[in-house]
Symmetry: C2
Subunit: 269 residues, 2 copies
DNA sequence: GCAAATTTGTTCGTATGTATT
DNA sequence: CAATACATACGAACAAATTTG
């Protein structure tokens, strides 16, 4: 342990701290414009590059956004969409997916939109094979969808099913069309395979290039994404489906109810 | 729409993309050192500042870490700790807290450590008052704990109880000592108030100054934190406790089980 | 519709500070 | 103490996006 006196913070940090304090105290309101870089340069008696370093840390913290040709603005919070992961445990239908997804969103007075699926046949790779408990190289059907709410890109979802389901008669899994009653219900109707539960595995990571483009978030990883692996189980205890959903963390929150919980109060924080 | 030809990416982006590809393809293994800034400057025929911009975007993406005096290294993944939020629904005890926390961690062959609590009496503020459904300004007891695993800082946890619980006899809530059987159990024993369920509200945000210091994560928001609000409900349906837990997203993942789910396979992704 | 002004983005050069080996 | 490597800071020039006159 060296103890000793603290060294002075670098100048860009002092500047960003002062601006940060002004933002977090509300002195600089959300949506309002910061002084321009040249104004800040004069005000703090620093070079423009040092000002830019200070502003960059604020950008990194998600406190401000910069717009070329316009200026730097205090971030406006997006009204978050809240997904209940533990919805409808009895029916085996999960929160935030398929048929339940649409009704959940409508309930919050928002306009949902779900793209037609992109369907592929592919070979199981490490992570997916692992979760589905099949051999690597097993043939799978993947159904990929983009989901929007109020014209804002909201999530990317890909479900993986064993190709065997199709061979056994669930041919609509291969059609690039939404399944009205939901794939879970469809599989039960055709194959008699009932989903009795699921496990959600929640992680957070930096977005890849596809995700930054679709969600329109910065390409430098400042906005992380949730990646939720949902493994659905049949009565036998075997996995019957894996769904991978990606949500930008700046506009998504999740709820998990355990035990007896009163109905949520809409509009509550 | 202007259509038109795509303009060339800036140089620092071209450089970071090339390095990124080398890292993600495994050509640069985790833990290995990148060429120094001066070497990269010569290799890419750019200025050192431009190289630094490229490296900064990699840092921002969490792909590399820089160490002054040493060099730049490919990030090594931390073996994540996985918390089951839906644990023990029957008993009303939640995953990842108090008594269950210790046993859950031990099960994974890790060494847990929980600090003695810092206890405070304070007035309910907006967010907490809202979730506890009490008036702003109501007196609350807060119990704050730091939790480590294998000497790595793991989470910060603060629980809020109505001060009335203490007045009604649950005086140990005010003592800055761990409650062996857990506060939930203690409250039930003393007050006969049974926790019948809880709601977890999962968000992700940039860490504040305290959190960056405790978790030893960079102060610029590159590593986000989970913030999980757990509102616990009594039989009456009224909230009896709010617990706020903060976890760095680089070393934590969460599981939610809904319906019938087979036991987890340890060591599985 | 266009040109000028404004504002942020990229790139270079240079010098000095700080941490580690 | 010296060498190495990243961190901070300044100055300068030009590019690209946007707004304004």
């Amino acid at each position: 342990m060296t103890g000793g006196m603290a060294v002075a913070d670098p100048m860009y940090r002092v500047i960003s701290d002062e601006l940060r304090q002004k933002i977090e105290s509300g002195q600089l309101a959300p949506g309002s414009q910061l002084p321009t870089e040249l104004e800040l340069r004069d005000r703090f008696n620093a070079s423009r590059n040092t000002i830019r370093d200070a502003v960059k840390t604020l950008v990194s913290l998600g406190l401000v956004v910069t717009r070329p040709g316009q200026g730097t603005f205090v971030t406006e919070r997006i009204d978050p969409f809240v997904t209940t992961l533990s919805a409808d445990a009895d029916t085996g239908f999960g929160g935030g997916e398929g048929a339940t997804y649409l009704s959940e969103v409508s309930r919050a007075h928002r306009q949902p939109f779900m793209s037609e699926p992109r369907v592929e046949v592919l070979l199981a790779t490490g992570e997916i094979a692992d979760r589905l408990r099949v051999e690597e190289g097993t043939q799978l059907v993947s159904r990929h969808q983009q989901r929007h709410i109020d014209n804002t890109p909201w999530s990317l979802q890909t479900s993986f099913y064993p190709m065997q389901f199709v061979l056994d008669g669930a041919t609509r899994l291969l059609e690039a069309v939404n399944i009205p009653q939901g794939a879970v219900q469809y599989i039960q109707e055709i194959l008699g395979l009932k989903q009795t539960g699921y496990r959600d595995w929640i992680t957070v990571r930096a977005p890849d290039a596809n995700e930054t483009a679709f969600f329109r978030i910065p390409g430098d990883g400042r906005v992380a994404v949730f990646e939720i692996f949902r493994t659905a189980f049949a009565e036998s205890g075997d996995p019957m489906r894996v769904t991978v959903s990606v949500f930008p963390s700046d506009r998504n929150q999740f709820i998990v109810d355990v035990g007896t919980v009163p109905a949520p109060q809409l509009g509550t924080t």
